[in-house]
Amino acid sequence: MAVADPIVFGAVADRPARVRRGMRMGVWELGGIVVLVLISLIAIFAPLLAPHSTTQPIAVGPFAAPGHGSLLGTDDLGRDILSRTLYGIRSTWLSALAVVGSGIIIGSIIGTVAAMAGGFIDTVLMRTTDLFLALPGPVLAIVAVVALGPSLPHTLLAVGVVWWPWYARIVRGEVRALLARPHVDAARLAGASNFSLARRHLLPGAFPAVLVTGSLDIGNLVLTLSGLSFLGLGAPPPTPELGAMTANGLTYLFGQPWVALVPACAVFVLAFAANLAGDGVRDLLDAV
């Protein structure tokens, strides 16, 4: 530090990091984050926002066009598409968050243990991770649904099983890099146990990389879950799910396009906003 003045002066780097990072984010990324916050609110408050039941026909009858007694129209059974889409967003979005969340938790534990233990344990854990990486998620989901019966938890279980290995790899890499840093030696000399070393001195350093991956991953997951639901591998009908609703609406695409297009657009907006927000989060954290 003292030997050579860095080209960018210390004091420049010392500026409150938030200011510098904030300037790096573009309008699109910011928009993505705003939309995602709105979507999260919709997901949480869908039961309050939905004007009608998701499973019972409403008074206007089937195939009502948008605006004619129902904001986004009704489907083949006369159910309110707006209400069903709101609930669909809720289930897709919360499922994606749950899978990424479980992936981060499981991956962090396995990655940290592997990196800190090293040697044989590291080899065993990482080869196991590779094994899970080799499993094709959709195929596993089909197997799970066939074996256990169609339900959302079964689909999530199947996807969750193949989703954590990415995080285990990232966390292991980050933790290994951090282990070589002097502050870890200093913490050891301060008498830190392995657990507190991991919790206080290693994981917070790995977290930015995990968060960036996770936020870029969510859009991916929205598409995977919607795709599985589209193939009939999600919750059984009449549960409102975006993929299943789109699949159902395809039959009427030329006569009553809104039945398929409304849930499809919801998937598109969800995935697009998640990707933009992921870029935004990366911009925020990459500056560190």
């Binding site: 003292a2 050579a4 080209i7 002066f9 420049v12 200093a186 008498g191 206080r200 917070p204 350093g205």
Partner: protein
């Protein structure tokens, strides 16, 4: 790159010999965020002259070097001129500057590995600068690289640090540039390699190429420079011929730098004279003299009037408001602290290492770092472990504190609290996302101290190293370099260890900060009765702190004994080599 309204100066024709290699006039550079790196610098570098640019971190010396090369970040706000062979390197458009760099300039930086292309053979890289492989071989030969015919086929990673720096120098002098800027070119090197590279610079100087040699160490500048320019707080404090400045400094800061430096005059067992206070904050420069707050000659007028560089003799200039009053009577630094008496030696050991062996890698890559080493440190004493990099001294140190397990042999530490380590890079030893208070409470909590007492203990220990309580709420990055050093020391002595191990604690520090850290180590070891194991390649520091010295080479101790005796009459070649390599201006006086 700068204020866009600036008119483009006319591109000059081939410079005549009368044009100085570099002419800097009233140069101000401010970075976004308000860092005023340079605040009005005037400097002329004549043809064939070697100028030593000396100052501490943040003094602006590197920025001045970059300005001369036209390499300032585009966001910098610049006024004034820095003319390289007549071409304004801060005002001209990028293409003009690039052409000027190619025709008239060369650069050598601290870390050659980051400046060399790792995927390209040495020969091609040098040939890119010189024009042909034949001339590249010739240049490598001039840069003192043995067997250049063979070396041109090698990649940078195949060369040692010293050879890589020679390659950089060969590239810098390709095409006989008018000016070569060398920024701390020897700081990352071993002492012995450093002295070889300094010799090379002396050999390379000729009538056409000028050098700007940027360094924080006056003794290094003395080895190569004709003139010394002392920078402080973004302004020139003093300019003069090297020998004159070192023999009779006229600026109080120069005098302080000279006096705070470890040397033969430094007395063991007594504190070093130090500069009080902290370096100036480049975001909020003082209204008057930047040095006034730390200057023992400062008066009222120093804090209000900005001192201007004035010529005091045909060859010398100084920027000091009181230069006439102080004249040649610039006083030396005062010793501000006093130490308690050193504890009595006992025969009891704080550290006993027997038959320690440690190897890294497996199979053909296996390298023995430490080979059947014995080492004792008695309670209350200080042992310096010296040697070149790669001799195994750091590995030994890590085994002594238990961070590394020896493959063979035993390590026993004396009764009492477990050993602690002071890291070479104090900043990196602080977990970046944790507050200093959290970091310091951690060992206390692990030792089972009740929560109520921890806060008080942290405050007391911070006070012991001269830091205010508020530091506990900061994170490492928010502190100055000096504060980080103190925090790292405070953390190591929270629970006073039987043995305090120090890994090159001053090798990366400015002279004034190094003196502060050495004083702290000396005082704390006495007050807390700690034994010290002090790893260094700097025999000056070893002489100052240690009672005994152990010289390592190739994983074994080749010479050991009382410090004074070993240094006065070394019996081993490795020791003699280390001794000869220490740049020391007193020896030649």
């Amino acid at each position: 790159m700068l204020t866009a309204t600036r008119p483009t100066p006319p591109i000059e024709e081939a410079p005549t010999p009368s044009v100085p290699a570099l002419e800097v006039k009233d140069l101000h550079i401010t970075f976004p965020g308000g860092v005023q790196a340079l605040r009005g610098v005037d400097l002329t570098v004549g043809r064939g002259e070697v100028v030593g640019l000396v100052g501490e971190s943040g003094s602006g010396k590197t920025v001045l070097g970059l300005a001369a090369l036209g390499l300032l970040p585009t966001k910098a706000i610049v006024t004034g001129t820095a003319a390289l062979s007549g071409i304004d390197m801060v005002g001209a458009p990028e293409e003009v500057r690039r052409q000027a760099r190619r025709d008239h300039a060369g650069a050598v930086f601290q870390d050659p590995m980051t400046s060399l292309n790792p995927t390209m053979r040495i020969g091609r890289q040098v040939a890119e600068a010189s024009g042909s492989i034949e001339s590249a071989i010739d240049l490598l030969d001039r840069a003192g690289i043995p067997d250049p015919q063979r070396r041109i086929k090698q990649y940078p990673h195949e060369l040692s640090g010293g050879l890589r720096q020679r390659v950089m120098i060969a590239m810098a002098i390709a095409g006989s540039p008018d000016l070569v800027v060398a920024d701390e070119p020897t700081t990352a090197l071993d002492v012995t390699v450093q002295s070889q590279i300094l010799n090379l610079f002396r050999e390379l100087r000729d009538a056409t190429t000028s050098f700007i040699f940027v360094t924080h160490d006056l003794a290094v500048a003395r080895e190569v420079a004709d003139r010394i320019v002392v920078l402080y707080g973004g302004r020139v404090a003093e300019i003069g011929p090297t020998e004159d400045v070192l023999r009779a400094p006229t600026h109080p800061y120069t005098a302080a730098l000279l006096h705070a430096r470890l040397g033969r005059h430094s007395r063991r067992g007594e504190p070093l004279p130090t500069l009080p206070g902290e370096p100036p904050d480049p975001r909020h420069p003082a209204e008057g003299c930047a040095f006034a707050a730390r200057c023992s000659h400062a008066e009222e007028k120093c804090t209000t009037a900005l001192p201007v560089l004035e010529v005091t003799s045909p060859t010398r200039s100084v920027a000091c408001v009181r230069r006439d009053e102080i004249g040649a009577h610039v006083t030396k630094l005062r010793v501000i602290e006093s130490w308690p008496a050193a504890p009595e030696f006992t025969s009891e050991l704080a550290l006993q290492m027997r038959g320690i062996t440690k190897a890294f890698g497996r199979g053909s890559a296996r390298r023995v770092a430490v080979d059947a080493l014995d080492l004792d440190v008695r309670k209350g004493s200080c042992v310096a472990l010296v040697g070149e990099s790669g001799c195994g001294k750091t590995t030994t140190l890590r085994m002594a504190v238990g961070l590394e397990k020896p493959d063979d042999g035993t390590v026993e530490t004396g009764r009492g609290n477990p050993p602690q380590l002071v890291f070479q890079d104090a900043g990196a030893s602080l977990t970046p996302w944790l507050r200093i208070g959290d970091l310091m409470e951690e060992p206390l909590r692990n030792a089972g101290l009740p929560a109520k007492e921890r806060g008080q203990r942290v405050k007391d220990t911070l006070a012991l190293v001269g830091l205010p309580d508020a530091v506990a709420d900061a994170r490492g990055a928010e502190l100055s370099g000096g504060q980080r050093q103190r925090v790292a020391l405070a953390r190591a002595v929270l629970i006073p260890p039987t043995l305090l191990a120090c890994d090159e604690p001053i090798s990366a520090l400015d002279v004034s900060l190094a003196a502060v850290v050495l004083n702290l180590l000396g005082r704390l070891s006495r007050e807390l009765g700690m034994a010290m194991l002090f790893v260094t390649h700097d025999l000056g520091a070893a002489r100052f702190v240690s009672d005994e010295i152990a010289v390592m080479a190739g994983g074994i101790v080749v010479e050991r004994g009382a410090t004074e005796e070993v240094l006065a009459a070394p019996t081993n070649d490795a020791t003699r080599e280390l001794l000869a390599a220490v740049p020391d201006f007193e020896a030649a006086r």
